[in-house]
C-alpha cells in the first residue's frame, strides 16, 4: 500500500521533469554536435592527397563532417530520451522491489553452477559441436587458455580483492613457477608432479620476499614497488643467460604424464595402457582437466580461507589497517600470508604454463600480462569469485571471438581485420564498465556468515 502510493507520487514528477526538459535535450544534443564539429575540423575535414607534382593537396570532406555531426546529434538525443525512460522504469522497479535480494546473489545462484557445468563438459561439448575430438581442439585450447587466466585471476584476487594490496607485478610469480618447473625438469629430470608443489613453494617464497620490503606501503606506493619487482624478475631472466637461457628461453621441457604414464603412441603409453587408439588429443584433454582442477582448488581454498580467521583478517585489513591492529591482528603476518598464498597459486599456474607450452621465455611474462590479470580482477569486481571467472572469459575469450568475425569482411572490404581493433574495443569496454559498473561486474560482497548459518 505505502509503496504503491510512493510510486504514484514519484512517477508524475519524473514524467513532468523529462517532458519539460525536451528543449533542454535539444540544446544539449546541439552542443554535442558543435563539439563534434570542433573536433572533426582538424581531424576529419581535410585529407592530404598526393597532388600533381611533388606537393600534397588538401581535399575537403565537409560532407563527412556534416554526417558525423548529425549522427552525434541524433545519437545523443536518442540516448537522452532512452536514458530518461530507463531511469524512470528503474526508479519504479526499485521502489517496488526494495526488499528483493541483490541481483548478484540471484545471478550467482544460477550462473555459477552453469559455468561450472560448461567447464566440466567442455571437451565433450567441443567434440560434439565440431564433429570430433581433433576438430574440437581449438575450443579446448581456448578453454585451457581461459582457465589459466581464471586461475591467475583467482590467485591475484586473494592479494588485491581480499587483502586490498594492489600488486602490479603478479606475473613475476607466474614466471617463477614456470621457470622452476622448466629448470627442475630439464636439469634434474624431476617429474611434473614433484615440480608442481615445488614451483608453488618457490613462488610463495618469492611472495614473502616481495612482501617484506613493502609491508609499510599501501596504495600507489605499493603498486609502484610491485611493478618494479615484476620487471626485476623479467630482466634477471633475460640477462642471467647461464641460469635461465636468457631471452632465448628454455625449450624442450618434458611434457606432463598421466601420473607417470606418458602420452606416447608406443607400448606403455597412455593409449595402449587404457586400451584406446592413440590420439594426440588425450594429452590436450588431460591438460584441460588438469588446469580445471588447479583452478577449482584455487577457488575452494579462497572460499574456505574467507571463513577462517586469517581470511577474515585479510578482508578487515583491506578495510582498515589501524582498526585491525587495535583488535590484536598481526598485520605483518596477515599481509605476508596473502602475498605468499596468492604467489603460490601463480606458481602452480606458471608450472602448468611451462608443461603445456614445452617452452618458456621472458617474453611471456611482461607487464601486459600483469595488467591483464589485474584487469580481470578489477572488472570482475574485487573479491568476487564468479565475477573474476566471467571477466576472464570475456577478457581472454572476446579477442578470440573477434578473430572469427570474418563476415565483417563483407561489410568493410577484404582488407578488414577485426583483430586489429582489439585494443580499441578493449578500451571502449573499460570506459563503459567504469561508467556503468564502476565497482566491477559483481560488486556485491557476499558476507562470509549469514543469519541461520552456524557462526564459526
Amino acid at each position: 500500500m505505502a509503496t504503491g502510493s510512493t510510486i504514484g507520487a514519484v512517477a508524475p514528477t519524473v514524467g513532468r521533469r523529462s517532458g519539460a526538459a525536451f528543449p533542454e535535450m535539444l540544446k544539449d544534443s546541439a552542443l554535442f554536435a558543435l563539439v563534434t564539429l570542433g573536433l572533426s575540423i582538424p581531424v576529419v575535414a581535410y585529407r592530404t592527397d598526393l597532388g600533381q607534382g611533388t606537393g600534397l593537396e588538401l581535399t575537403g570532406r565537409w560532407g563527412v563532417v556534416a554526417g558525423l555531426c548529425l549522427a552525434v546529434f541524433v545519437l545523443r538525443l536518442g540516448q537522452r530520451l532512452l536514458l530518461g525512460e530507463v531511469a524512470r522504469r528503474r526508479e519504479a522497479h526499485r521502489l517496488a522491489t526494495a526488499e528483493a535480494p541483490p541481483v548478484a546473489a540471484r545471478a550467482g545462484r544460477v550462473l555459477a553452477p552453469l559455468t561450472l557445468a560448461v567447464a566440466l563438459t567442455l571437451p565433450l561439448l567441443a567434440a560434439l559441436g565440431s564433429g570430433g575430438l581433433s576438430e574440437g581442439r581449438y575450443w579446448i585450447d581456448l578453454g585451457i587458455l581461459i582457465l589459466t587466466y581464471v586461475m591467475l585471476g583467482w590467485g591475484l584476487n586473494i592479494v588485491v580483492g581480499l587483502a586490498g594490496l594492489l600488486d602490479l607485478g603478479y606475473v613475476a610469480f607466474y614466471a617463477v613457477g614456470a621457470y622452476s618447473y622448466a629448470l627442475l625438469a630439464t636439469v634434474f629430470g624431476l617429474s611434473f608432479w614433484i615440480c608442481l608443489p615445488l614451483a608453488g613453494l618457490f613462488a610463495a617464497a618469492f611472495g614473502v620476499l616481495l612482501g617484506f620490503p613493502v609491508l609499510r606501503l599501501r596504495g600507489d606506493y605499493l603498486a609502484i614497488v610491485t611493478l618494479a619487482f615484476g620487471e626485476i624478475i623479467r630482466l634477471v631472466l633475460i640477462n642471467w643467460v647461464d641460469f635461465s637461457g636468457g631471452a632465448a628461453g628454455l625449450s624442450s621441457i618434458p611434457r606432463a604424464s598421466f601420473f607417470g604414464i606418458p602420452f606416447t603412441a608406443g607400448e606403455g603409453g597412455f593409449a595402449s595402457t587404457f586400451g584406446l587408439s592413440f590420439s594426440p588429443m588425450h594429452r590436450i584433454v588431460f591438460l584441460y582437466y588438469l588446469i580445471l582442477v588447479l583452478a577449482l582448488v584455487t577457488n575452494l581454498v579462497t572460499l574456505r580461507m574467507r571463513r577462517l580467521p586469517l581470511g577474515r583478517a585479510w578482508e578487515a585489513l583491506r578495510e582498515d589497517e589501524i582498526a585491525c591492529r587495535s583488535l590484536g591482528i598481526d598485520t605483518t603476518m596477515t599481509k605476508l600470508t596473502a602475498f605468499a598464498l596468492g604467489a603460490m597459486f601463480a606458481g602452480f599456474a606458471g608450472s602448468f604454463f611451462a608443461v603445456r607450452q614445452g617452452f618458456v621465455s621472458p617474453e611471456s611474462f611482461n607487464f601486459l600480462e600483469s595488467a591483464i590479470i589485474l584487469a580481470i580482477v578489477v572488472l570482475g569486481g574485487m573479491g568476487s569469485q564468479l565475477g573474476v571467472a566471467i571477466a576472464a572469459i570475456v577478457m581472454v575469450g572476446a579477442p578470440e571471438l573477434l578473430r572469427n568475425l570474418t563476415f565483417l569482411k563483407a561489410v568493410f572490404g577484404e582488407g578488414f581485420d577485426p583483430n586489429e581493433y582489439r585494443l580499441l574495443l578493449f578500451g571502449l569496454a573499460m570506459v563503459c564498465m567504469m561508467v556503468w559498473r564502476p565497482r566491477g561486474l559483481i560488486s556485491e560482497r557476499t558476507p562470509s556468515v549469514r543469519l541461520g548459518s552456524r557462526a564459526a
Binding site: 577474515r312 589501524i322 583488535l327 556468515v449 543469519l451
Partner: protein
C-alpha cells in the same frame, strides 16, 4: 564453612586492596613526538581496576595522542606505560591488544563492507572466538539495535549504531580495560545518552574498567569516577568527576555554554 568463607573474603579483600595499590593502567612521565613536535609532555595517568576515568581537554590537547601512545602508535619516547604489572611501552600495537586491553578508536573505524556479525567476529579474533555465541548475545542485549542490524553492512548504519558496534567489537575480546576515544563525536544527544548509560551499566554490573577520552566534558565527568584535564600535551588537573565538574576553572574552560 564460615571460617573458610571468611578466609575467602579476607583473600578477596586483600587482593582488592593490592589491586587498588597498583593501578591497572599506569602512565608515568610519558612523552611522545610527531617528528620533532612534542605532543605529550611527561604525562602521568592512573586507571584503577573497576574505575571509570575520563580524560577531557580541548581540540589538539593531546588526548587522542595519549590514547594512541598507550596502544603503541606512536611509541612513547620517554616514560613508561604499564598494564596489569607488565611494561607495554615498547610493545607493538597488536600485542598490546592481546593483553585484555581493548580500544574503540577515534572515528570508530568499523569495517564498513563487512556485516555487523563479521565485525564482531573480528573483535573476538584475539581469543580465537571461544565464547563467540555467548558474547554475541551479551552485545545484543547491551545494544539491542545491533541485533536488528546483525547481517547488515557496517557502513550502511547510522553514526550512533556504528559507535555501538565499535564499542561492542572492542568488548568481544572480554577486556579488563576498555578505552573509548571520543565516543560521542558527531552523535545526537539522545544517542550519546544511550551509549554512556550502556558504559555505566557495564561498569556497575560487570566491574569493567573504562578509560574514556572526551571533548564532551559534562557527560564524561558525570559518568566518570575520576577525571583528568589535559592542556597542550600535559595533565593540568585531576580529581573526582564531581570535583572537576564543580571546579570554576574547568567550568569556565569546558562547561560554560557547552552544557545544560
Amino acid at each position: 564453612m564460615s571460617v573458610a568463607g571468611i578466609n575467602v573474603l579476607v583473600d578477596e579483600t586483600r587482593a582488592r586492596t593490592e589491586a587498588a595499590k597498583a593501578p591497572l593502567l599506569s602512565v608515568r612521565g610519558v612523552s611522545a613526538y610527531y617528528g620533532s613536535i612534542r605532543a605529550l609532555k611527561g604525562v602521568d595517568v592512573d586507571v584503577h581496576e573497576g574505575e571509570i576515568v575520563a580524560l577531557i581537554g580541548a581540540n589538539g590537547a593531546g588526548k587522542s595522542t595519549l590514547m594512541m601512545t598507550i596502544f603503541g602508535q606512536p611509541q612513547a619516547r620517554e616514560g613508561t606505560i604499564t598494564f596489569a604489572g607488565q611494561d607495554i611501552t615498547r610493545l607493538p600495537t597488536h600485542e598490546i591488544a592481546r593483553l585484555n586491553l581493548a580500544q574503540s578508536p577515534e572515528g570508530r573505524r568499523i569495517f564498513s563492507r563487512m556485516t555487523v556479525r563479521e565485525n564482531l567476529q573480528m573483535g573476538a579474533a584475539v581469543n580465537g572466538g571461544k565464547h563467540f555465541a555467548e558474547d554475541l548475545e551479551r552485545m545484543c542485549v547491551l545494544f539491542p539495535r545491533l541485533r536488528e542490524r546483525i547481517d547488515q553492512r557496517g557502513g550502511t548504519m547510522s553514526g550512533g549504531e556504528q559507535q555501538m558496534l565499535a564499542i561492542a567489537r572492542a568488548l568481544m575480546s572480554r577486556p579488563r580495560l576498555l578505552m573509548l576515544d571520543e565516543p560521542s563525536l558527531g552523535l545526537a544527544p539522545l544517542v550519546v545518552k544511550q551509549i554512556f548509560s550502556a558504559v555505566r551499566d557495564l561498569n556497575a554490573r560487570e566491574g569493567l574498567t573504562v578509560f574514556i577520552v572526551e571533548q564532551n566534558a559534562y557527560h564524561a565527568l558525570k559518568l566518570a569516577h575520576r577525571g583528568y584535564v589535559m592542556v597542550t600535551g600535559a595533565v593540568t588537573m585531576s580529581g573526582t568527576g564531581q570535583a572537576l565538574l564543580d571546579d570554576p576553572q574547568v567550568k569556565a574552560a569546558y562547561l560554560e555554554g557547552g552544557s545544560h
